[in-house]
């Protein structure tokens, strides 16, 4: 077997623990991933041995910190196929990256009444609310793609949805609820045709799929460190350099300037222009270590493992009476995130019974309430997988669902 999941799991100390007297079965990686010891060690070593502020100290610690921080940026750039490390902007998370674009691109494009922004019904709230706020500030209009019954983006109205009025298109690459991986080639071609910017929320795709931003067809992408074995507090905005170079700043402060006088300021080139203040240094270095870990295993191998697990999970869940899966029914064009309902049982109750058996799933609207509304439910139960997920854990989930049906039957 090319991918040794048992060996991978040994790198994650958390799998030693029990939950409510049962071995931990962690099926909530779309929410946040667990961290390997290789990431934890690098972060601890940095704090213990190399801590200094970045980009502003001539002393040795400051220089070593800066090298580690910029080294992480370079490895992350290479991980996603960026043309240069200068295309990688560190943010707090995906949410901040999207808000950055909503502010800076909105200003650059001088959005106003008559202009349109296009998103989709499949978005996480973080790719809805910043655009609603931008529309409120500027008078621009928000429009969106719907979702088909199979859980895919409904592109049937593509040409009337994305028009010469469209200035920005921002859609999700992989759904955090349905698991759908969107083939964005048609949307990208149409956005290019009308001269609109295309942003992709890659929070769920970069952690799980081989990524090459140069062939993706997007102008900007956002993703977050804690869903890809890194710590919380660090995210990434990638943008084409010529576009980043045109964007005005988002937050103002230290590090993002060229020169400051009391009457005005000129700004640094990207990425520094968008990194005001002391950044999350240790977290960026931790994300660099996470990328090294993922690269060491190979994203193609990780993706294949998750496809195998997802295929098995779809079979097992389909076999449980009363379970309805939302989203693509087969592994084609979907990732390892499976949302479902149990007939007659509220997801909170499903999650509570599973937790009592050590099985950790997410329940609720998953910060994507419009997706739940689209399928006519207030909430869903979601199991999400990663490189460390095993078929045994899927079996534990299926057994847990039998218990759910016993309690509420």
């Amino acid at each position: 077997m090319s991918f040794d999941v048992a060996r991978v799991r040994k790198d994650f100390p958390i799998f030693d623990r029990e939950v409510n007297g049962y071995p931990l079965v962690y099926l909530d990686s779309a929410n946040t991933s667990q961290k390997p010891v290789q990431v934890l060690d690098v972060m601890r070593a940095h704090q213990e041995r190399y801590n200094g502020n970045v980009s502003r100290s001539v002393h040795t610690l400051g220089t070593e910190s800066t090298e580690a921080y910029e080294g992480a940026r370079a490895r992350i750039a290479s991980f996603i196929g960026a043309a240069s490390p200068d295309e990688v902007v560190f943010t707090k998370n995906s949410t901040e990256a999207i808000n950055l674009v909503a502010h800076s691109a909105g200003q650059m494009l001088r959005l106003g009444p008559g202009d349109e922004i296009v998103i989709s019904e499949m978005e996480h709230h973080s790719n809805i609310v910043p655009w609603q706020l931008l529309c409120e500030r500027t008078g621009a209009t928000l429009r969106w793609f719907g979702i088909t019954d199979e859980g895919r983006l409904d592109e049937s109205q593509l040409d009337s949805l994305i028009t010469s009025r469209t200035k920005i298109v921002s859609v999700v690459h992989m759904s955090n609820v349905l698991g759908t991986i969107n083939d964005v080639s048609r949307i990208s071609a149409r956005a290019r045709e009308v001269g609109a910017l295309l942003m992709l929320d890659c929070s769920q795709s970069v952690p799980h799929l081989p990524m090459d931003v140069r062939s993706l067809g997007a102008d900007l992408i956002a993703f977050t460190g804690h869903k890809m074995l890194g710590p919380t507090g660090i995210g990434v905005l990638w943008g084409r350099f010529d576009l980043l170079a045109q964007l005005p700043p988002f937050l103002g402060g230290g590090s993002m300037i060229e020169t400051v006088t009391m009457t005005g300021t000129t700004y640094a080139a990207p990425p520094a222009r968008f990194e005001a203040g002391t950044p999350p240094i240790t977290e960026a270095i931790g994300l660099g270590a996470a990328v090294d870990y993922l690269t060491g295993l190979g994203m193609e191998a990780i993706h294949q493992h998750e496809q195998d697990i997802t295929r098995y999970a779809l079979e097992q869940l389909t076999a449980v009476p009363g379970v309805r899966i939302y989203g693509p029914a087969s592994v084609e064009g979907r990732g390892g995130t499976v949302s479902f309902g149990v007939d007659g049982v509220h997801p909170h109750d499903v999650g509570q019974v599973l937790d009592a058996l050590g099985v950790e799933v997410r329940v609720g609207h998953h910060c994507a309430r419009p997706v739940c509304s689209r399928f006519g439910v207030p909430a869903m139960t979601r199991a999400s997988f990663y490189l460390y997920t095993t078929t045994d854990e899927i079996d534990a989930l299926a057994r847990g669902l039998d218990q759910v049906r016993k309690v509420f039957g």
């Binding site: 509220h346 909170h348 509570q352 207030p378």
Partner: protein, 151 residues
Amino acid sequence: MMLDGLYQEIILDHYKNPHGRGLRDPFDGEAHHVNPTCGDEITVRVTSDLTDISYDGLGCSISQASASVLHELVQGKDPAAAAEIHHAFVELMQSRGQIEPDEEVLGDGIAFAGVAKFPARVKCALLPWMAFKDAAARAGVDVGASPEVKA
């Protein structure tokens, strides 16, 4: 199994066979509350003399059973008695399991003592009670100051 404390038979009974469910006319006050973290919703209607308390909503067994118990306990009570029950239930839910509930006051509501030990579910149990308090205020009925809800 530790779940026994949470899913008491009384709670499951109220969930499967809710009392007084369904919105009714006439009413004098109505309130719609949502739990933003899980999307659960409830609408509560009251008449100003509390002779009818009706409700409808979408939610988990805890929130739905709690609404049923609320209906059973508070409907037909005078404002002072309603306030006492409301206060006792909110206090119980915020006790983290440290209070021995009084069955004289809370009836089937004592089954929720176990829920207080699951911090993530306390909001579920309180959802109908907070909506009731708002609906009553809109009907001109003061059910009194309840302990501050922190969950």
